[in-house]
Amino acid sequence: MSLIRENTDDVITSLLSSGNEQGIRLLYRYYADTMYGIIHRILPVEAEAREVLNDVFLKVYDNIAYYDASKSKLFTWMARIARNAAIDKTRSANYKMNKSIQNIDHNIEAQAQNYEAVIEDSGMTRLINALDEDLKSIIKLIYLEGYTQQDCADKLQMPLGTVKTKTRRALMLLRESLKGEGMAYLFMTPGMMHLLHKMISA
């Protein structure tokens, strides 16, 4: 499975490098919803999240020459771009002018509740619910909402060192659980398999 995934990343990368439109299409089919999740949790206003998502695809396309497969997976590289683009948007003058910090906090809370519902539905529910409250919060803030460790420490009123340790523990625990649960099925949706089959046979 991981071999196929890596090959898929290679195919997408080489298509993008040669300026082939199909590269963007495959990138969209593989990563658009995941990236939109990352962006939308940071930017609750849909119009802004849409704008940033478009820009993320543009940035990936324009900067594909700087992507180094030996350093990271395509997902990681793109997720960094998405996260940072969304955070930059919240720091933009325009954004600050339009919304007070309270509003953002309010929106993030609303959003947090919103994906609480998603968690209920997904196979991840049990895994995350099995974590203690601190780890659950850290997972949400650090990995899903783009908080820095410092901001997370401030919000949860924890020492920075504790946050650092827990950041690691939270993901480690999840990883272990994922292995046990065989969460690889997350990648094996019928659409994904169809696409993979198409690409391999192409």
Binding site: N20, R25, T34, R50, Y143, Q149, R168, L178
Partner: protein, 253 residues
């Protein structure tokens, strides 16, 4: 450096999600290159982060085509359309076009060459014809001058009792010492026979040679100075030393 402590510091998680400064990222990448353990750990974090993100994916409100259009409009590097059967072949289209063009030119050139050969042949024929006509014309002019010369005299030879309708014309020019004979008024001679022209000078017939009846052309013969009259007899092929008077067709002076 204590690698386990480094891994436990939480910096790698920050690295993966992109929460580090460029300088810190470069440091982590250096560690990753130097320590296989660090690299393995980062890969594991990447996998965990991706799983988590996928589990919390949200349906994007943007359609695929919209994204493609956006990137195509704004991209610094020009984007190509998706590869199709045609675009796979487009690089050889100019070559193909050139090939067709060359073939067309070749065929057209070949045709032109054939046309040229035909034209040259036709030109040669026409040119030859023209030369002949020109030569004929010169002869005719010469003859016209001969006939219309004040020194020339036209002698009409009239048919005898043997052949009343027959006639011939002799144009004589003493100065040029030659005569022209128009034989188109004579009946066609039987097989084995030929007409023979005679000049009569002081009552003596002088042989001027045999000739074949020719419709249009004048027959040229050397003149007999002082000849008073002319006659044509029908003789055996090759002619006779003396005229067969019974076979005299025309005569005149």
């Amino acid at each position: 450096m204590d690698i386990k402590a480094y891994i436990a510091s939480g910096i790698l998680e920050q690295y993966v999600i992109g929460a580090l400064s460029d300088r810190e990222m470069a440091e982590v990448e250096l560690m990753m290159q130097q320590h296989e353990e660090v690299k393995k750990e980062i890969e594991a974090i990447e996998a965990g982060y991706e799983s988590l993100s996928r589990a919390f994916a949200q349906k994007t409100p943007i359609k695929e085509d919209e994204v493609v259009r956006y990137v195509r409009e704004k991209a610094t590097l020009k984007m190509n359309p998706p590869s199709s059967g045609l675009s796979k072949w487009w690089p050889i289209l100019p070559i193909l076009g050139l090939g067709i063009l060359s073939a067309t030119f070749y065929i057209s050139l070949d045709q032109s060459k054939k046309d040229l050969v035909k034209s040259q042949e036709k030109y040669a024929t026409l040119s030859q014809n023209c030369e002949e006509i020109s030569r004929e014309n010169t002869i005719l002019k010469e003859r016209l001058l001969f006939v219309t010369s004040p020194e020339s005299r036209v002698v009409i030879l009239k048919g005898t009792a043997l052949s009343k309708d027959a006639f011939a014309t002799v144009v004589v020019n003493e100065e040029q010492q030659k005569i022209y004979l128009a034989s188109n008024g004579l009946p066609a001679p039987p097989t084995g026979k030929q007409y023979q022209l005679w000049a009569l000078k002081d009552g003596t017939p002088i042989d001027m040679g045999v000739f074949d009846v020719s419709g249009e052309n004048l027959i040229e013969k050397s003149g007999i100075p002082g000849a008073q009259a002319y006659a044509i007899t029908l003789e055996n092929s090759g002619g006779s030393p003396t005229p067969t008077l019974e076979q005299m067709y025309v005569t005149g002076s």
